[in-house]
């Protein structure tokens, strides 16, 4: 894996202007969330029962998840579609390494770590303003966030695997981004039925709201237990889906 990282890094340093681009994009991402918060809190002093620093914590987790997606997931998983189309997927299947591991870890878009930096800045700003924050809560939040990243990976991976049938699926991940962008704000800010959908239909709430609730010590134990269960279930599903997809892959020559 370190080899892959080093290769990606040296390829990307060729394009220095992209660095400026990704920093700009990170600030853009966080600006959407911050502007939303400023407007909501300009009109009332609570957002679905959350204070400004609490909601900012959610935004911080959102930026960290965005960073995970753009650094690790997007560069790899979007290539699955391309490789299926061009037939170069064959090379992955021939190598003596697990193919799912290979297609998931080949490339790293280092520049988008800027999302993570921005996310940490937001969390760093919010943390001292949160009296409810405890070390235990923060630890639990970190664990729940890790489990959330497993969910995000599994969902992305499954969406990308549909490339074996539909070939052109870059847009499907766009759809994911559209839904996922609701995670910028606490789930409680949405009307009840949307909140339910964001928790149980598409697990967006697990990624940003649940870790933030854990950090604030207001998470109910049920959801804390559900998070790893959902994550493992999705991971297993993505594995099954991948092997199923490979069975219907006819490779380049046949």
């Amino acid at each position: 894996m370190w080899l892959f990282l080093a290769n990606s890094l040296s390829a990307q340093l060729e394009y220095r202007a992209n660095f400026v681009g990704s920093v700009l994009a990170s600030f853009g991402e966080v600006a959407v969330g911050l502007l939303g918060l400023v407007l909501f809190f300009g009109a009332s002093d609570r957002l679905g029962g959350w204070t400004f620093p609490q909601a900012a914590l959610v935004l911080g987790f959102f930026m960290l998840a965005e960073s995970f997606i753009s650094v690790l997931l997007q560069p790899n998983l979007n290539r699955i579609a391309e490789q299926v189309r061009l037939g170069t997927m064959d090379f992955n299947l021939l190598k003596p390494v697990d193919a799912q591991f290979l297609v998931s870890t080949r490339q790293v878009n280092v520049f988008r770590l800027s999302d993570a930096v921005v996310g940490l800045l937001v969390i760093g700003w919010a943390a001292p303003r949160l009296p409810d924050l405890t070390w235990g809560g923060a630890l639990l939040a970190a664990l729940l966030f890790a489990s959330a990243l497993v969910m995000v990976y599994s969902v992305w991976f499954m969406l990308s695997t549909t490339a074996f049938w539909f070939v052109k699926v870059q847009n499907v991940t766009e759809l994911f981004n559209g839904v996922f962008s609701a995670g910028r704000f606490p789930a409680a800010a949405f009307p009840a039925w949307v909140r339910t959908a964001l928790t149980f239909v598409v697990p967006v709430a697990f990624v940003t709201t649940v870790p933030a609730e854990a950090a604030l010590g207001r998470l109910d134990a049920g959801l804390a237990l559900w998070s790893p269960v959902v994550a493992l279930a999705l991971l297993a599903a993505s594995r099954l889906f991948w092997t199923f997809a490979l069975r219907s892959y006819t490779s380049a020559s046949s």
Partner: protein, 270 residues
């Protein structure tokens, strides 16, 4: 006169080709449409905020929020522009060269591509817009046909301005490799100052003053308010004048950048 007729004929030919192109890719188009969720996310939160505040925020009830944000979504869909990405690819890979041999500025091909997309998109937009309007009690669009006529004019000008801004950003590729990231920023500024996040009346005064210096409020907030049936005719008239001014200025900028860029493009040996 002959020149104008010839331009019209060329444009019609390109337009019908681009329309066929867009009809072929309609499945993809629907996915792109669904991914434009920001308006709906904001609608859901503002409605929920209005409920928590006892029915309204700054004069906006649930129904008014729903009408306004459906309006921003419809308008946003009509103003989707991707020309910067296409120019980026064409300039970097050199695909632009054969197009320069044609007796027509490539601008027209891109413009007809976008217009063809709008024609294919329109029925889907109308269908999807009905959902929130039916779901939220009391929400709805205006029934005055004159407003729709004026709306088409305002949105056509708005599209032209978005298109020219993105075209200029795309032309930056003659000088730099990361033009497309400017395109993302430009969308963000347009959405933020245009009023996709909230009706402009709810923005802080300082932000509103900045917004008024740009064409964006007249491209999103104004048409959305018109659809919701809340716009005064005086505002519409002023909006059209402001948009015309911006369109002229950006059209000139585009032409200057195009000329300068082509000289540079030739210089790298293409």
């Amino acid at each position: 006169m002959r020149a104008a007729a010839s331009l019209g004929r060329k444009f019609r030919a390109i337009f019908s080709a681009q329309l066929a192109n867009m009809v072929a890719y309609r499945a993809e188009l629907i996915i792109w449409m669904l991914s434009g969720t920001l308006s709906f996310i904001m609608m859901a939160i503002w409605i929920s905020q209005a409920r928590a505040a006892g029915g309204e925020i700054g004069g906006f009830t649930e129904a008014r929020f729903a009408s306004y944000f459906t309006g921003t979504w419809v308008t946003g869909q009509l103003l989707v522009v991707w020309v910067a990405w296409e120019l980026d690819v064409q300039i970097r890979l050199g695909n632009l060269s054969p197009k320069l041999l044609r007796p027509l500025d490539p601008l027209w091909e891109h413009l007809s591509n976008h217009l063809g997309d709008r024609l294919v998109r329109a029925p889907f937009i109308a269908l999807l817009a009905c959902l929130p309007l039916l779901l939220v009690p009391g929400a709805g669009f205006t029934t005055d046909p004159r407003v729709y006529a004026a709306y088409l004019l305002v949105v056509a000008l708005g599209l032209l301005i978005r298109f020219l801004i993105e075209y200029c950003i795309g032309l930056l590729c003659f000088w730099t490799e990361s033009a497309t990231s400017f395109s993302e920023i430009s969308w963000l500024v347009y959405a933020a100052l245009g009023g996709v996040f909230a009706p402009l009346q709810l923005y802080p005064e300082a932000l509103r003053r900045v917004a008024r210096l740009t064409p964006f409020p007249y491209m999103v907030n104004l048409p959305a308010t018109m659809l919701a049936g809340d716009a005064a005719w005086g505002d519409v008239g002023r909006g059209v004048l402001v948009l015309l001014g911006w369109a002229a200025a950006l059209g000139t900028l585009r032409l200057v950048m195009w000329r300068l860029g082509l000289r540079r493009y030739g210089a790298v040996g293409a």
